[in-house]
């Protein structure tokens, strides 16, 4: 221990020790913190829990719950798992087919957009970070500025463009633009690429790698976290996207799950099918929840990368 200077009281020493140890709160404040967190978490989780309970209740209970909460238990005592297949079967005009189509469309959409975003954004991010050419900085600033433009302002010209191309009622208007980069992800890739030591690039160059080789063999393998973040966010965005599919997809066999769920709600929004509506909603949530548990740290890392590290 170092000698303490005069006038340095024991209380101050304790405070400093606690600060060094990482400020464990006192017992009273611990109680209040836990109380606040428990209330907050309960409030935030209640809608999800309620959704699960309703999705598992019998048609009679669900109907009764929709009329009155009396006798409706928040713990599913008699889970009706059959609600799930019943909901998926009834999701559209055609038994099962509507659900299968929506699922297949959503998977195709998410897969291709993820590939498109990762490829185009990593290429551009690499160039903005590692290639020196005249005009790079102004172009980069221009790109960042585009992040602020609301999509609505170009919605109509794009609709006309894709209509002229005959792409209406297909997934193409949603997929093709992802192969042309996205300012936010390019920015993330650039930030990451800029941190990779130049020596590594030089070594590869001396060994005869071209720029493309450096990008494919050195850079891409090193930036798995950014690839993961881009892939996850793109997946989540297109899995949930509502406005785009609503504009471009017109016939039921082209619907994505988000739009199919909405039309299911329109059709069967009545009191008697609440349990099925909730079951169908939960089915659309499951892949997102699974992805969250598999890749939790990337969600958090990705959200904070732009704000804190940028």
């Amino acid at each position: 221990m170092t000698r303490q200077p005069t006038g340095y009281t024991r209380a101050q020493a304790a405070v400093a020790r606690r600060a060094r140890a990482g400020q464990a709160p006192s017992a009273t404040s611990q109680f209040f913190i836990y109380a606040a967190l428990t209330i907050g978490a309960a409030l935030l989780l209640f809608p999800l829990w309620w959704m699960i309970v309703v999705s598992l209740s019998s048609p009679l209970d669900a109907a009764r719950a929709a009329v009155s909460a009396e006798g409706f238990s928040l713990i599913p005592t008699d889970p009706h798992w059959g609600n799930y297949p019943a909901a998926l079967e009834a999701m559209g005009a055609r038994k099962w087919e509507s659900f299968y189509d929506a699922l297949a469309n959503t998977i195709v959409l998410c897969t291709l957009t993820v590939i498109g975003q990762v490829l185009s954004c990593s290429l551009c991010g690499y160039a903005f970070a590692r290639l020196r050419f005249r005009g790079r900085e102004p172009l980069f600033i221009l790109m960042l500025a585009t992040m602020m433009l609301p999509a609505q302002v170009t919605m109509i010209p794009l609709f006309i463009l894709f209509r002229t191309l005959g792409w209406i009622n297909s997934l193409a208007p949603l997929i093709v633009p992802t192969f042309f980069g996205n300012a936010f992800y390019i920015f993330m890739f650039r930030q990451f690429f800029a941190q990779i030591p130049e020596a590594l690039v030089e070594a590869a160059r001396i060994d005869g790698c071209g720029y493309l080789g450096v990008w494919a063999r050195i850079m891409l393998p090193l930036c798995r976290p950014v690839i993961a973040i881009t892939a996850i966010f793109t997946f989540m965005f297109f899995w949930n996207d509502f406005l785009g599919p609503l504009i471009y997809l017109q016939s039921e066999e082209k619907y994505t799950l988000a739009v199919a769920l909405n039309s299911f709600r329109n059709q069967y929004g009545g009191v008697n099918e609440v349990h099925q509506l909730m079951a169908a909603s939960i089915v659309t949530i499951i892949p997102c929840v699974a992805l969250f548990f598999v890749a939790q740290r990337h969600f958090v890392g990705g959200l904070s990368l732009g704000a804190v590290k940028g």
């Binding site: 101050q12 809608p47 959704m51 050419f133 130049e198 659309t284 732009g306």
Partner: protein, 294 residues
């Protein structure tokens, strides 16, 4: 050793995806959109130039005034509330206590629920007759409001639903909190600062760049809110159009009434609104945001 230097041509080739996309899907459409906003364009006929007519019609369109008012009111309520709630939750889950990963996951969980599913469940929760919210209030002897169907409660309802997604800014604030050096808190303690003083003089300045980022993102998103209100109020925005918002009206003008010129004019006003508010926030931030190491 010199860093890789290449010609403009090679550089442009590398970033070709971005600038091709920028031209095709942004710059040219932006120009066209401005021209359409000055035209009458019912899709099936070619656009007819009408000058600023769409803009002057918007200036006297009561529905436009209503959606603009609703959207601004929603943003004005939602942005401060969500900022305060997200910072408060971030501070709570940043305390060194056991069980925090569980609480963080609980708070973040609603943000991964697709918006359509979110709207579906909240429509049920808000049901004035049978929803659990009013049932609970009735049990406590309170006569609950009509929520979505009430002109007074429509916007607060949307604020509540949107606050359900407080987890995503919360996570960003949490990362920001963890970047503030512990030594600053230690110094503040030794100087005799209590917890309020430490929050005011260490946490807030340290967090200010993150607050700026989140507020700017919140402005951009709140002014464009679409999927939630569009589903919550469906085709019926309720009495006095209390549940009708800017992008919903823009979408309806474009794809239900096929008034492409009018919708484009709305798009341009929205663009200017977002740019203006963002510029204002950045101007204010010059004096209030503290950048460590800058």
């Amino acid at each position: 050793m010199a860093v890789s230097r290449t010609s403009l041509g090679v550089g442009l080739l590398w970033i070709a995806p971005w600038w091709l996309g920028f031209m095709m899907f942004l710059a040219i459409p932006l120009g066209i959109s401005f021209y359409i906003s000055l035209s009458e364009y019912p899709l099936l006929q070619p656009p007819l130039f009408v000058g600023a007519a769409n803009y002057s019609t918007l200036a006297v369109d009561p529905v436009f005034h209503k959606v603009l008012y609703n959207t601004l009111l929603f943003s004005a309520a939602f942005i401060p509330l969500s900022t305060a709630a997200a910072i408060a939750l971030a501070i709570l889950v940043n305390q060194r206590l056991p069980g925090q990963p569980f609480f963080r996951a609980c708070i973040f969980a609603p943000t991964i629920v697709p918006l359509v599913a979110t709207a579906v469940v909240w429509m049920r929760l808000f049901n004035p007759e049978t929803g659990p919210i009013n049932e609970t209030m009735a049990a406590a002897g309170i006569d609950g409001p009509l929520w979505l169907a009430s002109p007074r409660w429509a916007i607060p309802s949307l604020v509540f639903v949107s606050l359900w997604g407080v987890g995503s800014p919360m996570v960003i604030y949490l990362a920001g909190l963890q970047e503030i050096p512990e030594t600053l808190y230690e110094a503040a303690r030794l100087d005799g600062a209590n917890s309020v003083g430490r929050f005011r003089h260490v946490t807030l300045p340290g967090l200010s760049p993150v607050i700026l980022f989140n507020v700017v993102m919140a402005i951009i998103n709140a002014l464009q809110i679409f999927a939630l209100p569009y589903i919550l109020w469906d085709t019926d925005p309720g009495p006095e159009r209390a549940g009708y918002f800017y992008t919903s009206y823009l979408f309806d003008n474009a794809f239900r009434f096929l008034k492409f010129g009018y919708a484009s004019a709305m798009g341009w006003i929205q663009l200017l609104l977002i740019l203006g508010l963002t510029a204002f926030v950045f101007a204010v931030s010059r004096r209030t945001v503290y950048y460590r190491g800058a």
